[in-house]
Amino acid sequence: MNKLLLETRELRKTFGALVATDGVDFDVREGETHAVIGPNGAGKTTFIKQISGELRPDSGEIRFAGDDITALPAPQRSHKGLARSFQITSIYREFSALENVALAVQAHAGHSFRFWRAAREDPALTGPAIRILEEIRLDRRKDVLAANLSHGEQRQLEIAMALATRPQLLLLDEPVAGMGTDESQRMIELLATLKGEKTIVLIEHDMDAVFTLADRISVLVYGRIIATGTPVEIRANQEVRAAYLGEDF
C-alpha cells in the first residue's frame, strides 16, 4: 500500500447550529484518485475548503505529506504542493488563457517582487505555461481572453492553472459541473490522463466521472463519512443506497 499523502483526523466545522463537517477522518494515498460524493448540502465544498486552507476547521487536524498543515494559510499550502480547482469557475477573466496559466507558473518560480522586466514576454513563464496548455489541449486558444472561452474551455483552464503549480495533490471541486455531455466526456478523458500521475481528490456529482476515474470513493452525508471503499464496494453498500434514496448509480 502506498503511503498516505493527505489525512484528516476528527475534522469538525460548524456554522452556527449547522454541523457542516462532523468529525471527518479521511485519507488519500499517494497516486490514487479518491472521490468524495454525497447529496447536495452534504458539506463537500466546506470539506474541500478546509483542505485547501480557505476555511479553518473548529477542531481536528489536517496532515499533508507528513506535516501538520491545519493552521497554514492557503497560499502556503499551494507552495507545499496542494492545488485546487473551483466548483464555480474561478479564472482571471480579463487575462488571456496563456496569462492565466503563466501566472500560476510564476507563483512557483521564486519571489514576484520583480518590478521591471515584462512578465508576458518572459520565456521562463510562458514556456512552461504553453506546455501545460498543450497537455490540456488548449494551446490553440492561448491568446483568447479567458472571458471569451467556452464554459468547457474555462473548466479546462482551471485544471491547467492547478497543474501549473506542479502540485502533489489536486483538489478538483466538481470539474464537470454544468457541462454538456460531449464536454464532460472530454473532461473525463482529460482527467483520466492525469490519473496515476497525480494524486487526486475528486469532488463530483457526476457518477459517470466518479466511477470512471476513482480508485476509492468516500461518501459524505450530513458532514459525516458513512462509507469509504472501492467503486464496487460503494455500489453494493446499503447505507449509501439509502442516503441516495434509491438513486441509480
Binding site: 494559510p73 501566472l103 520583480r114 521591471w116 501549473a164
Partner: protein, 319 residues
C-alpha cells in the same frame, strides 16, 4: 510591444514638450502655467491609478500625500532649508512612510471599509495641518522661495520648471507602465481580478498590495512637492477630501487601469474647469456662475457612455 494607445500617449507628451515654444510665440505665458498645473495633477492621478486602477484599491484619501509632499517642502523652507534635494527627498520619504503606516492597516480591508479608512486617515492629517499654527494653521503659509537644485535647474524660470514637471510626468508614466507589466504587476492585477484564485495558486495578497500602496504614496508625495512650488502657497486644503475626490475623478474620467487615462482625465477636468469659469462666450453670467453644473453633466455622460473613460475612446485596443 508598444500599443497604438501608448504611441498616442507618447505623441501627447511630445506635444506638451512643444507648448513652451508655442506659448512664447503667441505670447500666452498663462497656458504654460495652466498646463504645468495639469501635469502636476496628472502625476498625482498616475500614482492613484496605480492603486485604484491596477490594484483595485479605491483610495479616497490620496490627497494626503499631496499634503505631505507639500508640507515637507514648506516646513523645510520655513526653517530656511531650500535645497530641493532635501525637500523633495523628504517629500518622497515621508509620503512613503505615512503610506506604509496607513497601508499596513488599510490594505487588509477592501471595498467600502478601505474607502472609509483611507478617508479617515486623510482627514486626520487635514486637521493636523489646520491645528499647527507654526505652519500657518487654517490659513496656510506662503512658500516664497522655490526649491533649489544646486544651480542645475531654476524653478523660477517658468520654462525650466515646466520641462522638469514634464520629465517627471513622463518618468512616472514609464515607471507605472513597467511596473504593471512586470511579474509584480501581474500579481497585483491578478489580486484585483480574483483574490481567491490568486491565493489558491500561492500568492499572499498583502505584501503586494502594501508595496503598491507605498510606491503610489511616494509618487504622489513628489507631486505634492511640485504643487507647492507651483502655487508658492501651502494650505491644509492640499489634503481636503474634495481634493481626494478630484483625483479619483481624474482617474475615472480618464479611464481606470489605462496608461493614458490619468493624464487625459487631469487635463480635461482642469481645462474644462478653466474654460467654463472664464468663458465670456457663455450667454449669461448666471450660466457662467454655475459652471460646475455643466462640468457635472459632462462627467456623468462620460461615466455612463465611455466605459473605459476617455482613454477608452482612443483608437487602438483596450488594454
Amino acid at each position: 510591444m508598444i500599443t497604438t494607445r501608448n504611441w498616442i500617449l507618447v505623441a501627447i507628451l511630445l506635444l506638451l514638450g512643444a507648448v513652451p515654444a508655442a506659448a512664447a510665440y503667441f505670447e500666452q505665458p498663462f497656458y504654460l502655467d495652466l498646463l504645468r498645473r495639469v501635469m502636476i495633477f496628472a502625476i498625482a492621478a498616475v500614482s492613484l491609478n496605480l492603486i485604484l486602477g491596477y490594484g483595485g484599491m479605491v483610495s479616497f484619501g490620496h490627497a494626503a500625500y499631496l499634503g505631505i509632499g507639500g508640507y515637507a517642502v514648506g516646513i523645510l523652507a520655513h526653517h530656511g532649508i531650500h535645497s530641493g534635494w532635501l525637500q523633495w527627498g523628504l517629500a518622497i520619504g515621508a509620503s512613503a512612510l505615512v503610506a506604509l503606516a496607513i497601508g499596513a492597516i488599510s490594505v487588509r480591508t477592501s471595498g467600502i471599509y478601505f474607502i472609509m479608512i483611507t478617508l479617515a486617515f486623510t482627514q486626520m492629517l487635514y486637521y493636523l495641518g489646520i491645528s499647527i499654527e507654526e505652519y500657518g494653521g487654517d490659513d496656510g503659509m506662503r512658500v516664497p522661495v522655490r526649491s533649489q537644485f544646486s544651480g542645475l535647474v531654476d524653478l523660477n524660470d517658468g520654462t525650466q520648471f515646466y520641462f522638469l514637471v514634464l520629465g517627471i510626468l513622463a518618468a512616472s508614466l514609464f515607471l507605472v507602465h513597467r511596473l504593471v507589466n512586470s511579474r509584480f504587476g501581474m500579481v497585483l492585477q491578478a489580486i484585483r481580478s480574483n483574490e481567491a484564485r490568486t491565493r489558491a495558486i500561492g500568492f499572499s495578497p498583502y505584501p503586494y498590495r502594501l508595496a503598491t500602496f507605498v510606491i503610489s504614496g511616494a509618487m504622489c508625495g513628489l507631486a505634492g512637492a511640485l504643487l507647492v512650488n507651483h502655487t508658492a502657497y501651502l494650505t491644509p486644503e492640499f489634503m481636503n477630501w474634495t481634493r481626494s475626490g478630484e483625483l479619483m475623478f481624474m482617474v475615472i474620467l480618464g479611464g481606470i487601469a489605462t496608461s493614458a487615462g490619468p493624464l487625459l482625465g487631469a487635463a480635461v477636468l482642469l481645462l474644462l474647469e478653466d474654460v467654463l469659469q472664464g468663458w465670456s462666450l457663455l450667454p449669461r453670467e448666471a450660466v457662467r456662475d454655475h459652471w460646475q453644473l455643466y462640468l457635472g453633466i459632462f462627467l456623468v455622460l462620460v461615466v455612463l457612455f465611455a466605459r473605459r473613460g476617455l482613454a477608452g475612446l482612443l483608437p487602438g485596443k483596450n488594454e
